[in-house]
């Protein structure tokens, strides 16, 4: 039964508790030396993969991340949570800034085929760009079924029952493996990354070129700015005052 292999994609993002600063040249936000950690939804995806392994439904969990050298910290965290192997798709820092969901999806699709995995698990979105696209695009490239916003995942033979959180409520799908699943908040509570696991595992480093993936992006960032400062509100005493004020600023 435990012949299945899982690929989990993790992303290194700025820690959610850090105050973001826009770079003075407005090309992006300051990332140098800022505290980074694994994207919270990716942690949930790793946790799900490790739980499947503990239930003996999955044989091997491979963690992968695309980006510059520091990504290895994130892969190491995944290994500390219980992943078996780590793969770092190395992208030099200058190019890494232009890595978007489309490029990453290409990489993941190629890797999924190369490693012959049965399930690709990802977080539903990253907390830095909030794109919510990588999982869907990966499924598109692989032509595999997808279960996104998963709040529960159950393996039934060679099929996967996925309960999804959607606007209307909960939707349950049955997917035939191989498939792509993206994790939502209530899927599980991730465990801590503990030291014994980190010490023994290795990370393999490969280049996008090895996979035959082209990382060019047709998107370019024009500028990044702080949201406009909120101006102070004005309190009025009566409805007449309110109407007068609204007329004054040309709203009515």
């Amino acid at each position: 039964m435990a012949e299945l292999r899982v690929l989990v994609a993790v992303k290194r993002v700025i820690d959610y508790a850090v105050k973001i600063r826009v770079k003075p040249d407005r090309t992006g936000v300051v990332t140098d030396g800022v505290k980074h950690s694994m994207n919270p939804f990716c942690e949930i995806a790793v946790e799900e993969a490790v739980r499947l392994k503990e239930k003996k439904l999955v044989k091997e969990v491979i963690a992968v991340s695309c980006g510059p050298a520091q990504c290895q910290e994130t892969i190491r965290t995944a290994l500390a949570m219980g992943a078996d192997r780590g793969i770092h798709v190395e992208v030099p820092p200058a190019e890494a800034e232009r890595l978007g969901p489309l490029q990453v999806a290409r990489v993941l699709a190629k890797l999924a085929e190369k490693e012959k995995v049965d399930l690709v698990l990802l977080g539903k979105q990253a907390i830095d760009d909030d794109c919510n696209q990588t999982g869907q695009m990966t499924a598109g490239f692989l032509d595999w079924p997808q279960g996104t916003f998963a709040s529960q995942v159950t393996l039934e033979g060679d099929k996967l029952k996925v309960e999804r959180e959607i606007d209307g409520g909960l939707e349950t799908l049955r997917l035939k493996l191989p498939a792509v699943v993206t994790a939502d908040l209530r899927l599980n509570e991730p465990r801590y990354a503990t030291l014994p696991n980190i010490m023994k595992k290795k990370i393999e480093v490969i280049k996008p070129g090895d996979l035959g993936v082209d990382l060019t992006s047709k998107l370019s960032v024009i500028s990044v700015e702080d949201p406009p400062q909120r101006t102070a509100g004005v309190k009025v005493e009566t409805t007449e005052d309110l109407v007068a004020k609204l007329k004054e600023i040309g709203r009515i």
Binding site: D15, V18, R21, D32, G33, Y192, A193, I198
Partner: protein, 570 residues
């Protein structure tokens, strides 16, 4: 409802206020006899309430795995990293294999580092002679030095003559966090196993009493002390020698001082809080270091430099100012202390990084000699590296600290800082600290607070939002955060003391000296009186509360690793 502070100084109201507190809480002595106490439970940490007596922990697997190393280092600051790098440099040079493990509570190396910092590069260059080629971030050499005394509105310039400790010629302004981060990379490249995000929570001992190593923090404990589903024990790291490099007022060092009686022959350590430079031996419990700092920024001689600027970061950390007189015994079976933990800061020079690094280098060399010595015969399983203390005493660190030992204590005389300057001029500048006497400090910082009734409350000006700021927005900039569902790591030995003693006698100085707003006295939900609320998530790991609590009731222990500030190049 807060009683107006002026009224507290009146005897009648003082009595009345005390009675009001006693109405809600049983007197201290009674709580020990009676089993029902109306003091709300604040502390839930297992160091105060052991888990083997806690029903909720029955049946939980408490087994810990262990790893064996040659040397384990607690703390990846300048001292810890210097020791790690030096050990590996020696191992490579002598073709020996030494396993060095370094644990650090910050999520990344440098995230809990805070300093000026003006670095005297002597020890650094000794460790990294090729620092320039390797790209170490020493980019700003000092070009000019200015020293002055600030009165309420004016500034009296004081000349810095060559030979005075404040002369910075040859030094570099550095962002210590970035330098530490760079040193971390060098350490990893040399093969040191660096583990950020794992705090050393417990010292382990062999049966013969020598130090066996440390254990990292357990994870997955709820705020009320019960185990979560994700509970996991920490890892034990065993070593032949454990180096403790926790920085100023380390929590494990505090335990070691007691266990091995390392402070038997030295003075108590005195501290400052770096906000910057508010000495912690102040007496007025109404003083708030944070607000003093805000006020300082408005001084006419300081203000122009800051005007038009934008506040982008904030942090705070205690530093030691006791100098030579406060250095404890440095070695014990199985381990030793380096860096700001025992405290090698040269106070008048306001530099401790260079001495910290040198102590790390000397520790590494002494340990290496013992580890590789063929005739090693140790009385205890954990090695006692007494050579380290001897080597330190023969080094420039000792000479430097000895020569400036009397400068700070000389400021405690009747003439205050002016007396100190006169003393420095005569005995240091001219006589190079060779006078035969050693002045003493005036006791521990926590003993120095006078009761609130004997002091006047200080009216601090409101922050203007341009140069001075409020506390909470500053704390947000430190990036500090902790997993909220864990026992508060600011533990109280006795939950009733904050209100019964600290608040009633000293008007709750913890609400003022904490630079992160952790401690708040809030009105109780029903009835009169207050209770202490601990906002542990705000903590920036500065250790001031552990130092300055007049009742010494607060015991700072390490929270789950990875929590704490996220300084970037501070």
């Amino acid at each position: 409802m807060l009683v107006p502070l002026a009224k507290l100084s009146c005897l009648a109201y003082q009595c009345f206020h005390a009675l009001k507190i006693k109405k809600n809480y049983l007197p201290l002595c009674a709580t020990r006899w009676s089993s029902t106490s109306t003091v709300p439970r604040i502390t839930t940490h297992y160091t105060i309430y052991p888990r083997d007596k806690d029903k909720r922990w029955e049946g939980v697997n408490m087994e810990r795995f262990a790893e064996e190393a040659d040397v384990v280092i607690v703390g990846a600051g300048p001292a810890g990293l210097s020791a790690a790098v030096r050990l590996k440099q020696l191992a490579v040079a002598h073709e020996k294999d030494i396993r060095v493990c370094l644990v650090e509570k910050a999520a990344q190396i440098g995230a809990h580092t805070l300093s000026g910092a003006c670095l005297d590069p002597g020890a650094f260059k000794e460790l990294f002679p090729d620092w320039k080629e390797k790209g170490a971030p020493l980019n700003t050499p000092v070009t000019e030095d200015r020293f002055g005394i600030l009165t309420e509105k004016y500034r009296i310039p004081v000349p810095i003559l060559p030979g005075l400790p404040m002369n910075n010629h040859g030094n570099y302004i550095v962002r210590l966090g970035h330098l530490v981060s760079w040193m971390g990379e060098q350490a990893e490249a040399l093969g040191v196993e660096v583990y950020p995000g794992y705090a050393a929570a417990e010292v382990l001992f062999h049966d013969d009493g020598s130090v066996k190593g440390i254990a990292t923090n357990d994870v997955g404990i709820q705020k009320d002390g019960a185990p979560k589903a994700t509970f996991e024990r920490g890892l034990e790291l065993h070593a032949k020698v454990t180096i403790f490099a926790e920085g100023c007022h380390g929590h494990l060092a505090k335990q070691l001082y007691k266990k091995f009686d390392l402070r038997a022959n030295c003075e108590p350590q005195t501290y400052g809080i770096g906000l910057k430079e508010v000495g912690l031996d102040y007496q007025n419990p109404y003083l708030s270091p944070f607000r003093e700092f805000q006020r300082w920024k408005h001084h006419p001689s300081i203000r122009p430099t800051l005007e038009g600027g934008k506040r982008i970061a904030y942090g705070a950390r205690a530093l030691n100012e006791g100098g030579f007189q406060s250095i404890p015994k440095l070695t014990f079976p199985g381990g030793l202390l380096i860096g700001c933990s025992p405290g090698f800061m040269n106070v008048p020079k306001i530099k401790g990084t260079h001495t910290a690094m040198k102590s790390g280098i000397l520790a590494a060399e002494s340990i290496f000699n013992q580890l590789t010595s063929e005739n090693l015969q140790s009385k205890t399983i954990g090695l006692h590296v007494t050579e380290y203390e001897d080597n330190l005493k023969n080094s420039w660190v000792w000479k430097e600290l000895y020569s400036v030992r009397n400068i700070r204590p000389s400021c405690h005389g009747v003439l205050g800082v002016y007396g100190g300057m006169i003393y420095t001029g005569i005995f240091y500048w001219i006589l190079r600290g060779m006078e035969p006497w050693t002045l003493k400090h005036k006791g521990s910082d926590f003993e120095r607070l006078k009761p609130a009734k004997d002091c006047t409350p200080i009216e601090y000006p409101k922050p203007d939002g341009q140069i001075s700021f409020d506390l909470l927005s500053s704390v947000a900039l430190s990036g500090t955060n902790h997993e909220h569902d864990q026992p508060a790591h600011l533990t109280l030995r006795d939950d009733s003391i904050p209100v019964n003693r600290n608040l009633s006698i000293y008007d709750g100085p913890e609400q003022r000296f904490c630079p992160a707003g952790v401690y708040e006295f809030v009105p109780v939900e029903q009835g009169d009186g207050f209770r202490l609320q601990i906002n542990a998530q705000n903590c920036v790991h500065c250790k001031t509360c552990d130092i300055k609590d007049p009742s010494q009731n607060i015991n700072w222990v390490v929270p789950e690793g990875g929590g704490g500030p996220a300084y970037n190049g501070m």
